[in-house]
Subunit: 207 residues, 2 copies
């Protein structure tokens, strides 16, 4: 006999396990010996450390610009964080659509087009807010324009990568719910830093 209580219990467990797997926190047993927990969690932290070194090396390319104009270093985490958040939203939608068979090869292109439009709207709106806000606070028009354009670009990267990564992993028979996030946030970090610092460099900010 399966009771409603059993179902509620399973659902709670499953939902919790999903968050645990996503974060690389293993089983999440709060009573296991600490050395087991340390070992489980560190693997995922090392993977992420490696991924972050990629984006750090992108920042390293623009040391000259940053040295001449240190405000770039203050604004660049905003661009990468917006991309990370937008990418995680797209990812959640796509992973669910894959799991419920709503997203198949027949409508993947439509999904890409849809996320592109959403990214354009949200990136545009937040870019505008960011540009106006940064102009009011910092008073550098050129910097604010570069900031806004980079936010639009990274929002679009987030939308596209948020569809392409889980679809590709699903095709390769890898569970997209577990492994997508690190690829998506690495892409949005790298592209966030690169688009913002690259545009700033092109336009002679910090030149």
């Amino acid at each position: 006999m399966i009771t409603v209580d059993d179902i509620v219990h399973i659902i709670q467990q499953e939902a919790g396990e999903d968050a645990l797997r996503l974060s690389g926190a293993g089983e999440g047993d709060i009573n296991e010996p600490i050395r087991f927990t340390v070992r489980t969690r560190i693997a995922w932290l090392v993977v992420n450390l490696g991924a972050t070194m990629l984006s750090a090396s992108v920042v390293g390319l623009f040391q000259g610009e940053i040295a001449r104009f240190a405000l770039l270093a203050a604004l660049m985490p905003i661009v990468s964080a917006l991309g990370g958040n937008a990418g995680t939203q797209t990812l959640a939608v796509v992973v669910r659509a894959l799991a419920t068979n709503q997203l198949t090869s027949s409508n993947t292109l439509r999904m890409l087009a849809r996320e592109f439009q959403i990214a354009l709207c949200n990136g545009g709106a937040l870019g505008l807010v960011g540009a106006v806000g940064s102009y009011v606070i910092l008073g550098n028009l050129q910097l604010s324009i570069v900031f806004a354009i980079a936010m639009v670009i990274n929002s679009i990267v987030a939308g596209l990568v948020g569809v392409i990564v889980p679809v590709a992993l699903d095709k390769a028979n890898v569970d997209p719910a577990v492994s997508s996030a690190v690829f998506v946030t690495t892409a949005t970090d790298v592209m966030g830093f690169f688009s913002f610092l690259g545009l700033a460099s092109l336009w002679g900010l910090g030149g």
Copy 2:
């Protein structure tokens, strides 16, 4: 009659909905009009934009140091990202432990002590890897030591905040699964930047 298929279907839906709520992506209906999706998602992106501006203003405090030593800007996202990942792991464990009533006021202190020890181990190990790696690549011993200490500090912040935030939200009858992440990652971003740039400044790096 409840069939096994029904249960599997509910579990898949619930797990997906959890990821959707966590990311602020609403219902995740891939067929709703785009303007609805834009409106749902943008609210969460704006909240996160506000949170990121906090950490950006911390970086802004250290513009002088960054201008004199731009490598700081390349390493600081690694410190904040490690904290974000470690905090998310602790969060996943604590949210599950709260949902399954394994974590109560009687063992919260024990949980804090546990996460502190895990953070010390993982932060220490990754700090060591980071220090050796950055020394091999950049050859600046003082920078590598500051980098390692900041990683340990931020790892500990992540472990403590990852327990305190969801427990406090739960006490205030707010669903910790939905709202904890933005507080935890804001804390690890702010403390990651502050500890790394602050120590660098104290020790005269970029001075």
